[in-house]
Symmetry: none
Subunit: 218 residues, 4 copies
DNA sequence: CATGAATGAGCCTTCATTCAT
DNA sequence: AATGAATGAAGGCTCATTCAT
């Protein structure tokens, strides 16, 4: 029996409140790892956080907002990792940049699934204001990456959008179904089960090459 | 007073039953054109078809199955168009093939949105059997295309999977939100609103080129 | 142990549906007799009717609509009684009319409490259309009474509005509180606990007299 | 930048505590002017008072108590005005008294709406003790009026109860609904929209006359 | 005295699906 | 085959009140 992690009874200071908010996001994250959005109720999140349902709404106005915050977080974390990777590997050629980008997506399936949500569900019960501020924040978070990629900023932005589309697209295509094991083993259907990373890498390199070719040309 | 479209009170013969099934799909299609899946109830479909709710369940076991059938249909239609286009234009170079593929996606937003559903919602409340038969059917539908693309069959299959991922990915990224007008006009956010067809074309050509290069190399 | 009253499993014919609707209204009525609106949940109504919660919403779009329907019913019943009373007693003098009106209010506390609701809660979650049709229906229901009161129609309508205001007013003032017994027995507070019928009668006669005097004068 | 109105950080002396209590009542009053009871949350009152939610409960045990206090206040103010009016106009005839009473109701819609609450909501979550003390206080507040009306005290008390019932009744009947504009303009429904003051005056005069007649008779 | 985070029962309503007719 | 009334679990969310700080 594991005792509950110590947590102040009431989050009083801004730090504690941030911590509480974080607790909620962590709980949502744990559930999100293996539960589709529609099956994931605020009730569950509350139980997982060991908070009352109403308390959730002290920190997030709606379910959508909660998940938008989760997305923002994951996006931030990924961009941090990407930045670190760029610093570490100091990619000089476009191909190296592509490699780094692909490498950075590892272990971020949760993020990819959240990105799918973004277009599908989020931004529906969310105010225009929040959408705007989300997009602005994303733009800000992108800057360190832009500063480190040895390509013109506009090109890098376009490249990142391609990465976004490709990640989401390949995520959808390769998404693990409850019991696809049997299907996978049918030879004539094998082509329907590509490897996420392999194909992402393939297409991203293709895009980078073309982007570079086009840039050079101009 | 307009009389209802002639329809047998009861569908007895297989033809009539097929017709009834088709009526339902047509109704679902009309609604799907401007309604997200979550907002689209079986009740609405029933009303639109002018059938009772229960009747729907004589033709489709679940809501998911209905939409899976709709997806199959759209897929079929698109592949027909693509086949016709391939016959008509007789593309010889890979670049021409890419052009034809891109062209074939025009007017098929509904299909793209259904493909997003496929990974997100469909195949959840659907039996393994049905999933299998769906995938097999897709494989079959693909054959005429494979026969017409001047590339090795395996390469074409892979290319089609790339097209799938790219369509879905760019669809998500460029999906029109209720009121993105304002956001779109923010210059620093402009990069977030690319054109579906332009970017799809760009990345598909890139992928085709690379696919060809790799194939040649081997 | 009382066996459940026989009720068709499904209300199929219009009559049965009317019956089912009636069942719900009867249940709501029973609860309403001793429960304030705010404490009376749709859940309770469902339990009392022995129907599922969702079923209620097949017959009434909102809680408010249900109670508006209940009010309409009670109003109808009261007006029927009033009509019968007018026929029976054939009041000739205004004073006799007042007596009949007062007599007609006996046993209609539920109606009075519903009328209080009307201004307070109902007509809030109710469409303008429904409000309009409610008011029109009331106007229609009034006609038999207008036809039987030996006063000009305009005067009778005004009189009925006075009856409305007086009933509601005295209802509020004399409303039985959970445990007012003790208070009632304080002599210096006795004036705060008048008798509904006595005071209603008093003021209604006063109003009738004045109405007649004014009418004669013109 | 506007500095907050000066208010001690903590109310220590009885005066300060009375002041704090008053602040809360003022805030509730402002909100009450245009918000129905059900839509008026303690949260709003707290925000409007610029106090924390919990602080409200140091001064009032429940929401109902708060509004009962507000009612007491309004009642007190109205009775002061009425007293002043009685002094000023020195009404001699019962008709003049009625005129003064009607005149005194002007600008007191908030009070009338609170009186409706009294029967409907208040006195529910309120202790018997508080109810008793409220009623006693009302009795006390009434005395100055009783001393100035040229009628036997018992008659005046009864008259005041009639005024209470009539005010509440006509308030309910004439209460302005969100968008009754359209309904009001339907000629056959016009009788449903009488004027508060006109009808109150009419019925109060009627009652006064009868009260006098009855008194004389005895 | 003041705070405001936390509570949690409870609200109304929705909707895919079932099944008696 | 067709109907549509009935189901009932589940949903997101509110808010008066409490209590640790």
């Amino acid at each position: 029996m594991v005792s509950d992690p110590p947590r102040p009874a009431r989050a009083r200071s801004p730090e504690e409140k941030g911590q509480r908010r974080d607790d909620i996001l962590r709980a949502a994250e744990r559930l999100w790892a293996h539960t589709p959005y529609a099956d994931l109720s605020m009730n569950q999140v509350a139980r997982e956080t060991k908070l009352a349902k109403g308390t959730l709404y002290l920190y997030f106005d709606t379910k959508e907002e909660l998940f938008l915050a989760l997305l923002t977080e994951h996006l931030g974390r990924w961009l941090e990792e990407l930045t670190a990777l760029l610093d570490e590997r100091g990619p000089k050629t476009p191909g190296e940049v592509a490699d780094v980008l692909v490498a950075s997506t590892r272990g971020h399936e949760a993020l990819r699934r959240l990105l799918i949500l973004l277009g599908t569900v989020l931004e529906h019960n969310v105010s225009l204001e929040l959408t705007l501020s989300f997009k602005r924040e994303v733009r800000t978070l992108l800057q360190p990456v832009l500063d480190r990629v040895p390509l013109p900023q506009g090109v890098t932005l376009r490249l990142l959008m391609h990465l976004y589309a490709l990640s989401v697209g390949w995520q959808q295509v390769t998404e693990e179904q409850p019991s696809t094991g049997y299907l996978r083993r049918q030879p004539e259907l094998a082509f329907m089960f590509p490897s996420f990373e392999k194909e992402l890498s393939f297409s991203l390199h293709a895009v980078v090459d073309r982007l570079v070719a086009e840039t050079a040309q101009v």
